[in-house]
């Protein structure tokens, strides 16, 4: 309408129209595309697939529908699960039941990487690798207690039972049902070594940063390891640290991304299929930190 390249094409000048466009382009919301996608896939794979979406041609999920309430999506080749017939989504259903090849170079579930670098470093197959020696590599303190009131431990950041990344951890009810702020789970042995009692304020530091939190001492933890649950709320009960004088950080203040050579293996078909960790896994959680009991008078 303005004489530009968009003339004669559907307008996408509002957020709602943009959303409409996205819905129109996805097989999960546009039945015609879903059926079409499966038909194409039938040609490419030689397997019968289109019946998974048949009867969906008529379906078209509009933005208004998504506003009126949650809408179940249409089974589509964009995903590997099948919701046809009211089934619950599970990954790889189509690959397993309809023998659609997996998205690997061989088309099979595939764990072997025959890249020269992978072979050289012995990681052609998934393999356990011990944690790095952060002392030798980066000059972090040695593991264990050094006699001073500090203990150096492996610093793990698992997801808690209440969260993937966020679960309203600033919610008063949930906080009243836990310790009410950031915590570090420690073993009795490590806590003893630095004279920390349950609920004492501690600081975890390394070259990356610092975390201030209260200790939970439990025999559920093995010695030499602390848990700092992933993504605890940084706006709740985080005092200033003694180490820096600044606000005491979050779980990721102490971690950092580590790149290893195999992450750089490129130009290699087996590793080129998609983003998101299809290849050697990330290892930014491979950390050590030094835990110290701090002054129990905290400043905010």
């Amino acid at each position: 309408m303005l004489g530009g390249a968009a003339d004669g094409r559907p307008a996408m000048d509002t957020d709602a129209k943009m959303a409409e466009a996205i819905l129109a382009f996805s097989g999960t919301t546009n039945g015609i595309l879903s059926v079409q996608g499966f038909k194409d896939l039938e040609v490419r794979t030689g397997m019968k697939l289109a019946d998974l979406a048949e009867g969906s041609e008529e379906k078209f999920i509009t933005f208004a529908q998504t506003q009126a309430g949650p809408v179940p999506v249409i089974t589509s080749p964009e995903w590997s699960g099948s919701e046809t017939g009211g089934r619950r989504y599970a990954p790889f259903t189509i690959n397993l039941e309809r023998l659609k090849p997996f998205h690997t170079l061989t088309g099979r579930m595939h764990f072997f990487l025959d890249h020269d670098w992978m072979t050289d470093i012995g990681e052609g197959l998934p393999i356990y690798r011990p944690p790095l020696d952060m002392h030798r590599l980066f000059g972090e303190p040695r593991l264990g207690s050094d006699g001073a009131m500090e203990v150096t431990v492996r610093y793990l950041t698992p997801h808690s039972k209440w969260s993937i990344h966020s679960e309203y951890q600033d919610n008063l009810l949930m906080l009243s049902l836990s310790r009410g702020g950031p915590t570090v789970w420690m073993s009795p042995a490590d806590a003893d070594a630095i004279k920390v009692h349950d609920n004492d304020w501690v600081e975890c530091t390394n070259v990356n940063g610092v975390l201030v939190a209260r200790a939970i001492v439990s025999h559920r933890m093995p010695a030499g390891v602390v848990y700092v649950h992933h993504a605890q709320e940084r706006t709740i009960d985080v005092p200033k640290s003694e180490a820096t004088g600044r606000r005491g950080g979050i779980h990721n203040s102490v971690t950092r991304l580590l790149v290893k050579p195999s992450h750089l293996a490129g130009g290699y078909a087996r590793l080129a299929y998609a983003f998101n960790y299809l290849g050697p896994t990330g290892n930014q959680r491979d950390m050590v930190a030094t835990v110290r009991r701090r002054s129990q008078e905290v400043q905010y």
Binding site: Q65, A68, K161, L172, L175, A191, I216, V217, T235
Partner: protein, 775 residues
């Protein structure tokens, strides 16, 4: 034999993941109020652990429950009437705030108010008791997942006892870690010691379903019940000075819905259903000498609902047939008495608790697995149950007064089920020798597996509704939102969400056609009435002689029950206006749109009444349903500009709101109706309007007038955004005394309020909130 019915619950502990959803939803529904900050009707404790309140199981300290006196008679552990009489003015032995926890909040306001600085702002904890900065040192769930076991683990009364008495000591060592979650509510005991402790007779056990409640009008705040209850599941409200407790969500249960904790349980581990029991046998059963015999005694009190003699007796006692049917299908009866896998919590307290637990096998399986064994092999499991003394002894202290034999028998059944079913799912022939080894047969074991592993909603919750055939008043469906309830789905709130979910895809949902013809029938006589006759608005049609819950496919009855309602105080015109407004402001589903002609006809019988409604009615008829619904959700659900909840305008999302909402519910109850809100807040305008139109004109009008300011604000908001609904609001306001104000300022002046601000928990130092001290 005196047959009585009791609602009971079973929780299958192996499935509890300790997510605390039940605690949070319960708190939101019942105790999110001032004076109740520290109260959790439902709590989930990690065991081993002290529980909530701390060490509540230590009856040497708290004197909860019953004991046998020298003559072998039941007596309250805290002492009988005479002792009570002398002690009545002294504070009884009961946990203090430090035993529960000192509730706190955070200085959330700083997060938005803090001036620009070097560091991001944080909210620090503030005591809800003193209003001062505080350091958090205990919470409602401090020892979650064995946290702090080094410092507090030994304080668990059961750990103490086992360390004292057993040769295998519980050690808190990494390699021997075991734990499980124990969700707890009030036990709704057959022999409630809370009730026996109350000097005012304020606590009663409902005749029809055994739910134990506190009559708030009669409670004098003696707090003897807090001492009396060995489970510490009765709490003192510091603000009202009265005792409160878990209500088993009776307003939901009465209409066939599960309790909030059950409904929301993530692990789907809760079962609800009826027990029939012999009320004459309770005292004797609670008085058997050896505490380890109490389990058997309690089982004997439970009657077989399939036994014709029991049925005849029950009928003679006035237990309705649909209840007897529910008792026969009861999952709790099946788990407790048929399969004998559910055990009562602390039978030794002699209160005959009615919340039962399937003890967890997982501590045993986990230990096996951690030692590298196959945790699903029957032989391994049986061996481990016998060898791993600690978890078994611990469970025995919780569920069988220390009798490990009984717990072992249950665990062996669970183990057998596990390996029997593993064989089947691995495609092997069922190995009948496994069920035989625990005295069952393959079919029985499979049935038990079905009930415990994959039972559907309707099998897990078998809840008969409030006595239908006795409630003559049900013939008069003064149904709050009852007109939506005819399809037999869950209640309004969930139906609405559910329908929205399925409607667009059109999958699995058959919309019920509801034309005007359907509305124009009397319920009682089923005789056709003139279309548009105001009195017929909202009356569901049913085949003659059937009432909700009886007809085929009718899952639940109407939403409310009560004396014949509809007091004649209000004039007919107002009534029609209210009802029409209620419908026009509700979510526009097919049913509602189908009623537009009827609404039109009814309104046109009153001169001038139709005008205000016509634009919305036109809109309802002239707009495609999807667009209509999207618009409704956008205008009324997603934003707050046109909030249809009356107290939103006055109290916002502050903590006061809970109390205010309570007042709405109270108004409904005072009119003698049971309202199942089911997901909708009681101040939802359509609900209030319908209440005024169909149930109690006077009280309804009073509510509307009390929230006149909200109505006017809503009207002005709608007007501002050019929504035709504004005129409906105007029509409603016109039925109320006084002139409508012109603008927001005038409304505020009229009502004397500003935007809602939080008042709860921010006051400094309210002496009523102080911990109660023992003198």
């Amino acid at each position: 034999m005196r047959v009585m019915a009791q609602m009971g619950m079973v929780m299958n502990l192996d499935k509890c993941i300790g997510c605390h959803t039940c605690s949070v939803t319960c708190k939101q529904a019942w105790t999110n109020r001032a004076g109740m900050e520290y109260v959790w009707f439902n709590n989930v404790e990690t065991r081993p652990g002290q529980g909530y309140p701390r060490r509540y199981e230590d009856q040497d300290r708290w004197y909860g429950g019953w004991t046998l006196n020298r003559r072998g008679k039941l007596a309250l552990k805290a002492g009988g009437r005479v002792k009570k009489l002398f002690g009545i003015f002294a504070s009884p032995v009961q946990p203090e705030l430090k035993d529960y926890y000192e509730p706190w909040t955070y200085d959330y306001k700083t997060l938005v108010d803090a001036p620009l600085g070097d560091d991001f702002p944080v909210a620090r904890p503030k005591s809800l008791i003193t209003g001062e900065d505080t350091k958090i040192t205990w919470s409602a769930n401090w020892d979650d997942d064995l946290g702090g076991s080094t410092e507090h683990g030994h304080l668990d009364p059961i750990v103490e006892k086992i360390r004292r008495e057993s040769e295998d000591k519980i050690k808190f060592a990494y390699e021997q870690t075991f734990m499980f979650y124990l969700p707890r509510i009030c036990e709704h005991c057959l022999n409630p010691s809370c009730m026996a402790s109350c000097p005012s007779g304020a606590i009663y056990k409902r005749v029809e379903d055994g739910i134990v409640l506190v009559d708030q009008d009669r409670c004098r705040g003696w707090r003897q019940c807090v001492t009396g209850c060995p489970y510490k599941k009765i709490y003192f409200n510091h603000k009202t000075g009265k005792a409160e407790k878990c209500t088993f969500c009776y307003p939901r249960v009465e209409v066939g819905l599960p309790t909030v904790c059950s409904e929301t349980c993530v692990g789907r581990l809760r079962y609800l259903g009826l027990f029939l029991y012999d009320a004459d046998a309770v005292t004797a059963a609670a008085s058997v000498t050896d505490p380890q015999d109490l389990y058997d005694a309690q089982m004997d009190v439970l009657l077989d609902p399939h036994d014709p003699r029991v049925q005849a007796e029950a009928r003679a006692q006035g237990i309705p047939d649909d209840w007897l049917d529910a008792a026969r299908r009861s999952p709790v009866y099946a788990l407790a008495k048929v399969y004998k896998v559910a055990l009562p919590l602390h039978p030794e307290y002699r209160t005959m608790p009615m919340v039962w637990y399937v003890p967890p096998l997982s501590p045993v399986v986990d230990l096996l697995r951690d030692q590298g064994h196959d945790g699903e092999d029957a032989g391994n499991l049986f061996g481990a149950i016998d060898a791993l003394r600690i978890p078994v002894e611990y469970l025995a202290e919780l569920f069988t007064a220390g009798d490990t034999g009984r717990v072992t028998a249950v665990l062996r059944k669970l183990a057998a089920m596990r390996s029997f079913m593993r064989g089947i799912s691995m495609g092997e022939d069922p190995d009948e020798s496994i069920p035989e080894s625990v005295g069952m047969d393959g079919q029985g074991m499979y049935d038990m597996y079905r009930l415990m592993a994959i039972a559907k909603y309707s099998e897990r919750y078998v809840i008969p509704t409030a006595h239908l055939e006795q409630a003559h008043d049900l013939e008069e469906p003064g149904l709050l939102f009852g007109f939506r309830r005819r399809t037999g789905h869950a209640g309004l709130g969930t139906v609405r969400r559910g329908e929205r979910q399925t409607r667009p895809g059109g999958r699995g949902h058959v919309p019920r056609p509801a034309g005007p013809a359907e509305l124009g029938h009397h319920c009682r006589g089923d005789k056709p009435a003139r279309e548009g006759e105001p009195a017929e608005l909202g009356r569901p049609r049913r085949p003659a002689g059937t009432f909700p819950g009886q007809g085929p496919g009718a899952g639940h009855p109407g939403r409310c029950r009560g004396p014949a309602v509809n007091r004649p105080a209000m004039n007919r015109r107002d009534q029609v206006v209210y009802l029409a407004a209620a419908w026009c402001l509700s979510y526009p589903d097919g049913q509602l749109v189908g009623r537009v002609p009827l609404v039109r006809a009814a309104l046109s019988e009153f001169p001038g009444a139709l005008a205000g409604f016509a634009p919305v009615l036109d809109l309802l008829e002239g707009t495609p349903p999807m667009e209509l619904q999207a618009q409704y959700v956008r205008e009324f659900d997603l934003g707050r500009r046109h909030a249809l909840h009356l107290s939103y305008w006055t109290d916002g999302d502050t903590r006061r709101r809970g109390e205010v909402l309570g007042l709405f519910k109270e108004a409904y109850r005072h009119s003698g109706v049971l309202v199942d809100l089911d997901g909708e807040l009681p101040d939802y305008l359509p609900m209030v309007l319908e209440f005024a139109a169909r149930v109690d004109g006077e009280a309804g009008q009073e509510l509307l007038q009390r929230y006149r300011a909200s109505l006017e604000m809503l009207r002005l908001g709608l007007l501002r955004d050019n929504l035709p609904h504004a005129r409906i609001l105007a029509a409603v306001c016109a039925t109320l005394p006084g002139k409508s104000p012109q603008d927001e300022q005038e409304v505020m002046r009229m009502a004397g309020y500003g935007p809602p601000t939080e008042s709860v928990g921010l006051d400094p130092y309210d002496p009523r909130l102080l911990p109660v001290r023992r003198s």
